[in-house]
């Protein structure tokens, strides 16, 4: 009986060992996971923001100014704007009236001086200098990067006639601000 137990014990040990080996083998078979692979990559998907900016040949300064104007006087000057960003921009400008000093007897330059803005032969805007431009601003179109536009400004003090017809405007003065905006 004791021998049987020993034998049985040995047998059991053998069985257990066999099972253990089988388990390892199966494990190797199941867990190897060997296969073929194929990979491709698309690295460096870089996203950079465009830059919208523009230059103004007279940025921060006046385009034209005239002192001691008299009837019949005309002043002209130009400003050049360039889309120096790297994306197109919708350009526009606004005209804002600043200080207004009436003439000695009440003449108002806002309703007297004529302003004309042209690009080449094309008139962009013309009217009394104080008149409203189309709200909210004057559309100048969409400019591609590096596009350049030059605008000629002319301000005229129309001669109202002889006999001191314009005397009311003596010493009149106004200030005008032009702002240019580009929107992507």
């Amino acid at each position: 009986m004791k021998r049987m137990k020993v034998l049985f014990g040995q047998r059991r040990m053998q069985v257990l060992l066999t099972l253990a080996v089988l388990l390892v083998a199966v494990s190797v078979v199941i867990g190897s996971g060997a296969n073929f692979t194929s990979q491709s990559a698309n690295p460096s998907n870089v996203f950079t923001a465009g830059n919208l900016s523009h230059s103004n040949s007279k940025n921060g300064a006046y385009i034209l100014t005239a002192s001691l104007m008299k009837p019949g006087d005309t002043v002209t000057s130009s400003v050049t704007l360039t889309n120096n960003g790297d994306i197109p921009g919708a350009f526009s400008f606004t005209k804002t009236m600043g200080t207004n000093v009436l003439g000695l007897t009440g003449g108002d330059f806002r309703t007297k001086l004529d302003l004309t803005i042209k690009e080449g032969a094309t008139t962009i805007w013309t009217g009394k200098i104080g008149a409203a431009i189309p709200a909210p601003n004057m559309d100048l179109g969409t400019w591609a990067p590096a596009a350049t536009h030059t605008y000629d400004f002319t301000v005229t003090f129309p001669d109202g006639g002889s006999g001191g017809a314009d005397n009311a405007y003596k010493s009149a003065a106004i200030t005008v601000v032009f702002d240019w905006t580009a929107v992507s």
Binding site: S53, H54, N56, M69, I129, F157, S162, A173
Partner: protein, 182 residues
């Protein structure tokens, strides 16, 4: 514990539907109101336009330059005034007749009197001369701001034009100086 069609399931479905609708609303709002863009602005301030002024000073503004009372044939009388340019511009000045009144109207004393206008700033330079009745206007000099010129007005009663009917006659001539900027 719930089953299809149970009140709890309906509540959950309704809740989920509301959540989905809310998310959609938020998404749509983002689409409609995002308006994000780049902008670039530049300004040109200080475009100033000022008018000058023009004025002058007449040393006898509103006053009589020459009062020739009891003028007799062969006699001359004169008076002078000074014009000083003012304002910001040089101006070209004109002397013009505003009104002429003869009493009696006929025969007119103005037709018998000779009017002479001289610039006597330096050596006398005659600006105009003729029968007072024919004077209308004369363009004189350009006067710069601050500059001064003197003008002499002379009335002469030539004996050749004297007639008895002019005894006691009078004439009033009103003149005006006007400058136009140059």
């Amino acid at each position: 514990m719930s089953y299809k069609g149970a009140p709890g399931t309906k509540v959950k479905k309704a809740f989920l539907t509301l959540v989905v609708l809310a998310l959609l609303a938020v998404a749509l709002q983002s689409l409609v109101f995002s308006g994000a863009n780049f902008t670039s602005t530049r300004g040109n301030p200080g475009n100033v336009f000022t008018a000058g002024t023009l004025s002058h000073v007449n040393s006898k503004d509103g006053q009589v330059v020459l009062n020739a009372a009891n003028l007799r044939p062969g006699q001359s009388l004169n008076g002078s005034l000074t014009i000083t340019g003012g304002g910001d511009f040089s101006a070209r000045y004109t002397i013009s007749k505003v009104s002429l009144t003869d009493t009696p109207a006929s025969p007119a004393l103005s037709a018998a009197l000779t009017l002479t206008i001289d610039d006597t700033t330096g050596a006398a330079v005659q600006e105009w001369s003729g029968a007072a009745s024919t004077f209308s206007s004369v363009t004189i000099d350009t006067i710069a701001p601050g500059a001064t010129r003197t003008y002499r007005f002379t009335l002469t009663y030539p004996t050749a034009t004297a007639v008895p009917a002019l005894q006691g006659a009078s004439m009033a001539l009103r003149l005006q100086f006007a400058g136009v900027q140059q």
